[in-house]
């Protein structure tokens, strides 16, 4: 974590699309009168989604004005939550988990791949396709190491399959989300080593 500031290059204005506007109105309506500010996180999230996964200043002000909050209140929230990106990200925004289980299972090697193929953290690759950041635990420790790319998880990574994954994404080929080694969930790799009397071949 470090000091987070708004991006230097900012778009002139921000306007919600009609669909997003309608969606936001529904969110706001969930809260009692005078408590519209409660919708600030969903509103920022939708604004970020609409704006290629990052929040420009104009969007922060738009959300504040929509919800009747002082601008600084919304800026506080946007800078507090690290999932709000304040600077542009690549078309594929890779969030790599570097917390203990992933680290023990080799996330350092995944980082090396990213550094080689994408470049340093929090910088968009020249072609605009990729950027990456190391984040705290994303809660998929059973299938460590893992990354989140945009809205999807990619698990059971190795340097080889991860490199292929990045190439496929860059080339626009369809990719498989979830485990990259064929697991359907978080069941053990290979054969069961415990609870064999209850599950698998040995059960009954």
């Amino acid at each position: 974590m470090s000091v987070r500031r708004l991006a230097e290059k900012q778009p002139e204005s921000f306007e919600f699309t009609p669909q997003n506007k309608a969606w936001l109105e529904k969110q706001i309506a969930k809260y009692p009168d005078g408590r519209q500010a409660s919708a600030v996180v969903p509103a920022l999230w939708q604004a970020q989604k609409q704006n290629d996964y990052w929040l420009p200043r104009a969007a922060i002000e738009k959300v504040a004005d929509t919800l009747g909050m002082p601008h600084i209140r919304v800026l506080e929230i946007a800078t507090f939550y690290t999932m709000f990106n304040l600077e542009p990200v690549g078309k594929f925004y890779v969030q790599l988990c570097g917390t203990t289980p992933c680290m023990l299972r080799g996330s350092d090697d995944i980082i090396k791949v990213l550094e080689r193929k994408v470049g340093p953290q929090r910088q968009v690759r020249v072609d605009g396709l990729f950027s990456w950041a190391e984040v705290e635990c994303l809660g998929a420790c059973c299938n460590a190491p893992m990354v989140q790319i945009n809205d999807d998880y990619y698990e059971d990574l190795t340097p080889e399959n991860f490199e292929k994954l990045l190439d496929d994404l860059a080339a626009g080929r369809s990719v498989k989300t979830g485990s990259q080694t064929g697991r359907s969930g978080s069941e053990p790799e290979g054969v069961l080593t415990s609870l064999t009397s209850l599950y698998g071949e040995g059960s009954k």
Partner: protein, 687 residues
């Protein structure tokens, strides 16, 4: 009431009291940074940790735990709090150590040094040495306006400033961005604050992160001579402390006065300081062939006496400005009586308030503290945010409690609270009076000078009296008819009857060309005296009045004399001398005494004490300091019967520029900077 033991001392406190309040009740000292009586509870500094018996078995933040949260012991023994136990001592040392981890040890170059909460509490409750050898965090300084300088590395994240702007000032301009160690206090993208109360955040800051910018590196707290006084920048009469070093006033701070200003003062009150040293009239001047030339007192007084002797009483007038104390108004009144002057006025703005309607007709009868008892508010022709920012904060405080219906007739403005807009002029007020609706029980009718300083001001005053009578403003034990003045001298001058005598002209008529031959102008700078009359200006600053003058007699500013002031509620307060007037300038009452001597008919006093004695003999209510002689509510009923016809024109606020309302403020460079900033903000908003 609940019994609780604090360090073995039993106290009986209301159950909703916090432990910290209970400890204070028992006389135990609890250190704190984030907790402040007049702000919401944050509980984030952890300095107020205490040990409790009857609650969780760990150190508890006493500011955030209520007495009722503690369970009684076996057999109903009262819960216990310890503030001096080893656990508490260790906890405080730990908190202090963490606070000092990132706090620079730059006390020798920090302006807060000597009056710093962190410094004092580190000494009293901290450890004896530092174990921290790593690098400290550094934080970029922020621009948050012309009045507050930031040194953000010193910030300990107590968030008092954030809560102040959100709750009291009502602008919500400050915030804490980022999180954890990287949390930073700032305004939105370092924009300047727009509140008229922003200077208070520097007082609230327990460390040297927010400091008053104009006083940057000027003096150390222990070098100041501290004088308790009252403010004259608006009619509220906020309690202030004037800090001087040598002959110079360096800063003005608020004093606590719950009846008036709680512990806030406006930025004009606080930072008008440099205006006290600039543009001063430090010697008498006489106009000769169109130019003012320095003169001796004897010469100047002789010139005035010669002119006065050759002028008939009916061709002379006397005018009192906004900053005059009772003493000089009284002296001028006596002098006018001796000279047979009928054309007296203290209402340079043309306000139609008049003592003949009774004292209640020009007082803020509800009192400032009474705002909190009101259940509805009607604002007529006023922008309290500009006319009395601290009073506006009190209205906001009442509004935040809820169940307070505010309506406004006059100019639309951002008052920091919501209101129902009724309309712009007298018609809307009339409609309001005639409404078929259940009246409020304790309505406050706040009448600003914007409604009264116009030719039909008396008609508006009568309408407002009707509104108060018919819409729940007057009842047993409640008089909600409240006039908000903008001039500090106004109520006092009205009390002394400084208004035209029988056959006398009001100010805006006698300043007309050819009306009079000689005008005594006691610091009235906001009125244009048309060419023709010989003007004697008695005042402290070379402002509009002095430019028009034929003779200037240099007087003293409010920090340079002991003077009585009556605030808009009718509360008599005394301002004390903190410094001496510059050069040959004298106290204003003494000037009139000397002038009367030059005229050969001396006023009957030789000292301030004798003057006050004479003053109190004539007006006994003025000797009761800090007390309000309340007006008779019956005169409101009589006022309501006053027949005059209101015009259709909308009400216009009398304050065009909050920062430049009087000669002292106009002489201040800091106020000029604030004004320029406010004007550019207005222009931006208009685009």
């Amino acid at each position: 009431m609940t019994k609780i033991l604090v360090d073995g001392v039993e106290v009986d406190v209301p159950p909703e009291f916090t432990l910290l309040q209970a400890c204070e009740e028992a006389g135990a000292e609890v250190p704190r940074f984030c907790y402040h009586e007049r702000l919401s509870i944050a509980g984030n500094c952890r300095m107020c940790l205490v040990e409790v018996k009857g609650g969780p078995p760990k150190p508890q933040a006493s500011c955030a735990m209520a007495v009722k949260d503690l369970r009684p012991g076996p057999a109903g023994a009262p819960p216990e709090v310890f503030t001096k136990s080893p656990m508490v001592k260790k906890a405080r040392e730990g908190v202090m150590e963490f606070l000092l981890v990132n706090h620079p040890l730059d006390c020798p170059i920090c302006d807060q040094g000597g009056e710093c909460d962190l410094q004092d509490q580190a000494l009293a409750f901290g450890g004896d040495s530092s174990r921290f050898i790593e690098n400290k965090r550094a934080v970029e300084n922020k621009y948050i306006g012309p009045l507050v300088k930031t040194e953000m590395t010193r910030c300990i994240h107590c968030t008092r400033c954030v809560r102040f702007t959100a709750e009291v000032a009502g602008t919500g301009e400050m915030g804490a961005i980022g999180r954890g160690e990287d949390m930073e206090i700032t305004t939105y993208l370092q924009s300047a604050m727009s509140s008229e109360l922003q200077g208070n955040v520097a007082d609230l800051c327990p460390v040297g992160a927010l400091l008053p910018k104009p006083q940057n590196f000027r003096a150390r707290p222990w070098e100041y001579q501290k004088t308790e006084s009252v403010d004259v920048q608006d009619a509220l009469g906020s309690a202030i402390r004037v800090d001087t070093r040598g002959r110079e006033v360096i800063r003005i701070l608020p004093r606590v006065n719950d009846a008036v200003n709680e512990e806030w003062i406006s930025d004009k009150t606080r930072q008008v300081v440099d205006g006290l040293a600039r543009q001063r009239l430090d010697r008498p001047f006489i106009r000769e062939s169109g130019r003012l030339r320095p003169a001796s007192w004897q010469e100047a007084l002789g010139a005035v006496a010669a002119k006065a002797k050759s002028t008939a009483g009916a061709k002379m007038g006397a005018l009192v400005g906004d900053l005059a104390a009772l003493e000089e108004i009284f002296a001028l009144k006596l002098l006018a009586e001796k000279l047979g002057i009928l054309h007296l006025d203290c209402r340079q703005d043309g306000s139609r308030v008049d003592p003949s309607f009774g004292r209640a007709s020009y007082l803020f009868n509800a009192t400032v503290a009474g705002i909190e008892d009101a259940d509805a508010l009607l604002i007529v022709g006023s922008n309290p945010r500009k006319e009395a920012p601290v009073l506006n904060a009190r209205i906001r405080k009442r509004w935040l409690k809820g169940g307070f219906n505010i309506s406004l007739v006059g100019e639309r403005a951002d008052l920091t609270y919501d209101y129902q807009y009724l309309g712009a002029g007298p018609d809307s007020l009339l409609q309001f009076i005639q409404r078929e609706q259940e009246p409020a029980k304790k309505r406050l009718v706040l009448i600003g000078q914007g409604a009264l300083a116009r030719p039909d001001g008396d008609a508006i005053l009568a309408l407002a009296a009707q509104a108060a009578q018919r819409r729940g403003g007057i009842s047993e034990g409640w008089n909600g008819f409240s006039v908000l003045h903008a001039a500090a001298s106004r109520v006092g001058a009205l009390d002394l009857g400084f208004v035209p005598g029988r056959g006398g002209l009001p100010a805006h008529e006698f300043v007309k060309r050819g009306a009079l031959d000689l005008v005594f102008n006691l610091g009235a700078d906001e009125i244009e005296i048309e060419p023709g009359a010989f003007v004697v200006y008695i005042g402290s600053h070379g402002d509009r009045g002095a430019h028009r003058a034929d003779v200037i007699l240099p007087g003293s500013a409010y920090t340079e004399k002991s003077g009585l002031f009556v605030n808009t509620e009718g509360r008599v307060q005394v301002a004390s001398r903190a410094a001496f007037p510059p050069g040959e300038a004298r106290e204003d009452w003494a000037i009139f005494r000397a002038l009367s001597g030059a005229l050969g008919d001396a006023l009957p006093f030789d000292s301030l004490t004798q003057l006050r004695k004479a003053l109190f003999e004539r007006h006994p209510h003025l000797q009761r300091l800090d007390a309000i002689e309340s007006g008779d509510a019956g005169s409101i009923a009589k006022l309501a019967q006053h027949s005059a016809v209101a015009m259709k024109d909308p009400f216009v606020s009398i304050i065009a520029d909050f920062y430049l309302t009087n000669p002292i403020a106009r002489a201040s460079a800091v106020m000029a900077e604030c004004s320029a900033l406010a004007q550019s903000r207005l222009r931006q908003a208009a685009e």
